[in-house]
Symmetry: none
Subunit: 120 residues, 4 copies
DNA sequence: GTGGTCTAGACCACC
DNA sequence: GTGGTCTAGACCACA
């Protein structure tokens, strides 16, 4: 996996985990890969991988069974969605509106731009 | 001014400068506040303020007259606009589309959200 | 049963056993539940349950009859009491006094607090 | 400094910080020693020391000024006190009452015990 | 096998 | 100078 250099790796891994939950690749009460597996797969140090787990555990999106591994929390999907939505509304969206304003663009323009872009 | 802890202060100040230019608060060939004034106003270390100036000078959005101060470049408005647009298309927009997808939102939803938000 | 995540499960189970002995739920020379029963009841790994038994066996609070099961030792009550008392005096009590000091509380305050608390 | 082997060092350091705040050795809005200083003083790895800072920052007891250091939060004293009190009421106290009950002791007995102990 | 802690030390961005 | 991240790897307790 490639990591963006502008953001801490462990945060990018945490985002990846959230994505997996939101995309239902990881289901509630299911065990997720071990710290070591993630570390090997993503080619990062186990410590770095662990930080991602700890971050999401603290947000109660995942939980730990001692000696067994990490699991997606009951309600983890909704919690993840709520967190991401809240962040979007309070941070991304205001930022977006401000940028649109500065660039003299409207939301309607986004449709065209997103289609024109090679990224989609 | 409050700064976001996740982004370098000097970058946030540079963004602020760009905003002022795009909003025509700072016009081309007009002198902008000194490093010292900015540092005092925003309560930051003068070194930090200076970095913002140097960054924008390097992008030729502002220029320096020795012993006089910093000025918005001829064409600084368009340069700023171009930079912001490019960044928006290549970075913000793909990011936005991905987030919308994860949150099961569409561009159309943004209209409502942006109106419902207290931020506007 | 809920376990505290900050303390090893097997230690919490051992504490539970001691409680049963001190409360005379388990009497001297009486057979106590098997490792397997404990494991099922408390929903823990049999290995974990076994460690609790071994710990108390080592302290001679319980003993094992091969093929039969575990029993509370002759004198197990007093032994448990003595251990708990010693630990209380040497560990809990100093810790308590320090905490009281930091919180500007006195032993006298404990009376009121313990009554006010919903836990009792 | 000696550390208790039963508890993570970074937690013991965090406790120490709380003590300093409760004892008013560290006052609100005052800078506290740097991560490196703590690491050297307590003879631990800077990483370990940092964990203590991060823990307390997350609880908003201390805050960070970029490139400057950590400071006790406005209201940090009360926050620390509240946290410690809450923990005491919800954890230490029930535990204590249970232990007293098992040992056939009363709160009144604590007075004598605490005086008799060599620790005071 | 699992995670959790810790060390030693590097590198970096930032002030 | 400050903190923040990351690696490499050890050691341990626990299940």
């Amino acid at each position: 996996m490639q990591f963006n250099t502008n953001k801490a790796i462990y945060l990018q891994i945490a985002d990846l985990f959230c994505e997996n939950i939101l995309l239902k690749k990881w289901k509630e009460n299911e065990r997720i890969p071990s710290v070591r597996e993630i570390a090997v797969d993503l080619e990062v140090n186990p410590n770095t991988a662990l930080r991602s787990f700890l971050l999401l555990e603290e947000k109660e999106i995942i939980y730990n069974k001692r000696g067994v591994g990490y699991f997606v929390s009951e309600g983890g999907y909704n919690k993840t969605l709520a967190l991401k939505e809240e962040f979007f509304i309070n941070n991304d969206l205001p930022e977006l509106m401000k940028t649109l304003n500065l660039l003299s663009l409207t939301i309607a323009d986004l449709e065209k731009l997103s289609k024109g872009s090679k990224k989609f």
